[in-house]
Structure formats: structure tokens, C-alpha cells
């Protein structure tokens, strides 16, 4: 398994990734590194559509066979959509963390928050430093 870190995304120290589209909507998931650490995922508790999230708020839970792990919103905004596929197929995150395994979408309240997140190099370094 490779620990992919796509260069076009932004990252958090708590292992979420963020992709922002032209309309100011952020798609959020957990990184490939995070899914590999967690192992086989068996349940995802999704945020509620319409919920107002603050940056850093606990908003979802991913559970592997080993343990439960919180997912934090990297940005402030309203939840527009959640990835319903994960309700029946949580392993989608194991298989494709950055595309099909996205978790939720948020309308950004403050686009500048995204700029403050880690870029791919900084995240890769952070992930490596946590290895041991």
C-alpha cells in the first residue's frame, strides 16, 4: 500500500483532506495514511445535512475493526451533502480515500481557512513524523 498524498489537496494534522471547487464547496475525507493506520473500516457515522460546523469540530466517526476514531471538520460551514455510500460500504474509504471515499461536503463560510491548512509536502512530513 502506498501512502498517497495528492498535491492539489489541503490537509489537517488530524488527517483530514479538503478539496475546494470553484463554487466555494469543500469536499472532505480522511487521508490514505489515516485509513491505513485504522485498518478495515466497518462503520461510518456521518454528519447531518444542514448542520453548521465550526473549524475543528468533531463531526463524524470512522470505526475500524480495531477502534473508533473522530473526524474533525477542517473548516467552518454548513454541511450540504454526505456520502451515503459509506453507510453500506464503509470499506470504500480503505479502497479509495480521496475520491469515492469522501465523507461530507461543506459550503465554506470563510475560504481563507483553507489557505491556512497544510499543503501536501507539509502533510507528508507530518504523517511521517507521527509514524514512530
Amino acid at each position: 500500500m502506498s501512502n498517497d498524498v495528492p498535491t492539489e489537496l489541503k490537509y489537517t494534522r488530524s488527517h483530514e483532506w479538503v478539496r475546494v471547487d470553484d463554487e466555494g464547496i469543500a469536499t472532505i475525507g480522511i487521508t490514505d495514511h489515516a485509513q491505513e493506520l485504522l485498518g478495515d473500516l466497518v462503520f461510518v457515522e456521518l454528519p447531518e445535512v444542514g448542520a453548521e460546523l465550526g473549524a475543528g469540530a468533531e463531526c463524524a466517526v470512522v470505526e475500524s475493526v480495531k477502534a473508533a476514531s473522530d473526524v474533525y471538520s477542517p473548516v467552518t460551514g454548513e454541511v450540504l451533502e454526505v456520502n451515503e455510500v459509506l453507510a453500506d460500504a464503509p470499506e470504500t474509504i480503505n479502497q479509495d480515500a480521496y475520491e469515492d471515499g469522501w465523507i461530507f461536503r461543506v459550503r465554506l463560510a470563510d475560504p481563507s481557512e483553507v489557505e491556512a491548512l497544510l499543503d501536501a509536502d507539509a502533510y507528508a512530513e507530518h504523517a511521517e513524523s507521527e509514524e514512530h
Binding site: G39, D40, F43, E63, V65, K66, A68, A87
Partner: protein, 363 residues
């Protein structure tokens, strides 16, 4: 710095993901815990259990000593090689450890105790053994590998030392055979058929690789935990410990109160507990909907808190979450569990959840 078993390098070479596990650097999986779990249920898998400790007990009065030390009665062990599961208790009935004891001869019994409890176990056993003039020898020179699954014995046969392979295949469940320092017990901790094999430590890596070549899947301790949970087998430190007795841990079946004149450690405490009545019940739970139950989550009967989960997790065989719980004697059948602030409905079920590859409960 975590301790390492003799197989540590082998695990790394073969691609295991290593984690710190009770003071030991152990493989948690070799890629996918769920695939390893299924390998054991449907074919054969193996586990490094070298961190567990073999303790040899020798002396003319060993049987008499063990009848004092253990809550189960080694008087039941009449044929050499036969094994027995038992708790070792404090005077107040608290469980010091759970273990397997093998009867090899009147002068030699062998026990296998848990890794995390080894130090306190050996100190306790030595102190208790003195009046019986029994020698207590921890065998840190032996390695141990568990080979489990419906095809485990067949596959292990091809790589066991020649003089042991034939006798191993003739073993009845919960019995052992040995040749030199190699020892094979038809025992395990997964709810499947299989062997636990002990050998000189230096020979463990080659045996591990030979088993892999014979088609036995290397497995991490993650799968060992989901397998034992499905099999309804208690985990020391989670489902019982020094604050609980076998009677409150679903292990009453391992306590031999007959014959009545056998004065074992903890006997009078257990008799008092039993006479007092209303002991908490140790039950199996099935989560009705989606989600994952985990140890220490609280159990409710209506608005009343009636106990907590001792261990819980996702069952790969049932594709549902299951748990063991200690609940009040008068807890009803309709229970809920507090999972991160939400009350999820659970159903009480009879354990085991899974045995020999098959679901034992209706879903």
C-alpha cells in the same frame, strides 16, 4: 522499549503492521484483519503467541498443589496429555489469571499463562508452591505459534517434525503430545479446530515460514481478538480481572465445587458469593442496527444503568456488532447501550456467537 518475540524480524520481513500491545511489539495485521479473520474461519491462519509464557511444574506433589492453586479441578485430568482450562484465584475470588494446564505425568504439569500477567503469576505460583515442594520453571526458552482453522491441522501436519506429526494428528480436542522440546496441543482461542505448537525459540522463525509455505495465512493479533470474541471466549483484563470472580465473568462452568473437600484458593469467597445471590450476569449482546459496540460502554434497561460492556467489536462473520457485558441480575431482555451519547438497541443472545465457522445465533 517494547519487548520483542523471536518472530519480530520475521513479521517485519513478511509485511506485518506492528503495534505496541501490552508491552510487546506485535503484529496487529498483515494487511487486512478481516481477511485474516476469514482465513481462520474458512481455511487456516497462524498467530505469534510467543509472548505468552509456558510454566513447567515438577515434583511428586504437583497434582495436589494444582488442586489447591486452581478453581477447576485437575483431578479431572486422568490421561497424560489431557488439558484443562481454569482460573487462578485470589482468596477473595478475584481472577489472577486464566490459563490452560496440561497433565503430562504425575511429576510434570505444564501451564500456559497470559503475557501481561506473567510476572505476578509466577511470583504467586512460586509462593503457593513452596509448601508442596513443587519446582516452578517459566520456560522463556520456548516459542509458541497457534495454527487455527478447519484446515489448520492438515496443513500443520506437513511441517511438524516427523516424530510428532503422526501423534499430533491422533490427538483428541484439548489434548497434547510432545517429542523432545516440541509440544503440540489441540487447543486454541478462536472457536476453530487447530494446534498450539511450542518449540525451542530458535526454531520458531523457520517453523513460521514453513507454515506460510504450506498455505497457512500469517495473522495479527487483531484477528485473534475478533475471533475469540465471536467464539465467546473471555479476554483477561477486559472480561475478567482481579476485581471479578469467575461467577461474575461467565466462567462458573470452570469452577469445580465438587468434591466439596477440595480447599482451593478462593473457594470460600465463591461460596459466599453464590449464597448471597443476585450476582451480576455475564451475557452476550447483538447490536440490532448499524454501529460498533466497544468495551466500557454503558448498558441500560429503560432509564436505569444496569451494567457495562466488557468487550465488544465488529463480528466479520456475522457482519454485525457483538459484545460481552456484565449486567445486573434483574436486567430485562430489552436493553440499550450508550454509544457516544446515542442509545442503541441490543438483543441478549446466548454465547458463543460463532463456532466452527458457523453462526450460533439468529440474526
Amino acid at each position: 522499549m517494547d519487548k520483542k518475540t523471536v518472530l519480530n524480524e520475521t513479521h517485519r520481513d513478511m509485511g506485518a503492521r506492528m503495534v505496541s500491545f501490552g508491552g510487546w511489539d506485535m503484529p496487529v495485521n498483515y494487511g487486512s484483519q478481516i481477511e485474516e479473520h476469514h482465513a481462520v474461519r474458512h481455511d487456516a491462519g497462524m498467530f505469534d503467541v510467543c509472548h505468552m509464557t509456558v510454566v513447567d511444574l515438577r515434583g511428586a506433589r504437583t497434582r495436589e498443589f494444582l488442586q489447591h492453586l486452581l478453581a477447576n479441578d485437575v483431578g479431572k485430568l486422568q490421561n497424560p496429555g489431557k488439558a484443562l482450562y481454569s482460573c487462578m484465584l485470589r482468596e477473595d475470588g478475584g481472577v489472577i489469571d486464566d490459563l490452560i494446564v496440561y497433565f503430562l505425568s504425575e511429576n510434570w504439569f505444564r501451564m500456559v499463562v497470559n503475557a501481561a500477567t506473567t510476572e505476578k503469576d509466577v511470583a504467586w505460583i512460586e509462593a503457593q508452591a513452596k509448601p508442596y515442594e513443587v519446582s516452578v520453571e517459566p520456560r522463556f526458552d520456548l516459542g509458541m505459534i497457534a495454527v487455527q482453522g478447519p484446515k489448520a491441522r492438515e496443513k500443520a501436519k506437513t511441517v511438524l517434525p516427523g516424530d510428532l506429526a503422526a501423534s499430533a494428528m491422533d490427538l483428541k480436542p484439548f489434548s497434547a503430545a510432545y517429542a523432545g522440546e516440541w509440544f503440540v496441543g489441540r487447543t486454541g482461542y478462536t472457536g476453530e479446530d487447530g494446534f498450539e505448537v511450542m518449540m525451542p525459540e530458535s526454531e520458531a522463525p523457520a517453523f513460521w515460514r514453513a507454515l506460510a509455505d504450506a498455505g497457512v495465512a500469517p495473522c495479527g493479533l487483531g484477528a485473534r481478538d475478533t475471533l475469540r470474541l465471536e467464539a465467546g471466549m473471555n479476554l483477561y483484563g477486559s472480561d475478567m480481572d482481579e476485581t471479578q470472580s469467575p461467577l461474575t465473568s461467565g466462567l462458573a462452568w470452570t469452577v469445580a465445587l465438587e468434591p466439596q473437600d477440595r480447599a482451593f484458593n478462593g473457594r470460600s469467597a465463591l461460596e459466599r458469593q453464590r449464597a448471597g445471590g443476585d450476582l451480576p450476569k455475564f451475557v452476550g449482546l447483538l447490536l440490532e442496527g448499524k454501529g460498533v459496540l466497544r468495551g466500557h460502554q454503558k448498558v441500560f434497561d429503560g432509564d436505569r444503568e444496569v451494567g457495562e460492556l466488557t468487550s465488544g467489536g465488529f463480528s466479520p462473520t456475522l457482519e454485525r456488532s457483538i459484545a460481552m457485558a456484565r449486567v445486573a441480575a434483574d436486567a430485562g431482555e430489552q436493553l440499550t447501550v450508550d454509544v457516544r451519547g446515542k442509545r442503541l438497541t441490543v438483543r441478549r443472545v446466548k454465547m458463543p456467537f460463532v463456532r466452527n465457522g458457523k453462526a450460533c445465533i439468529a440474526l
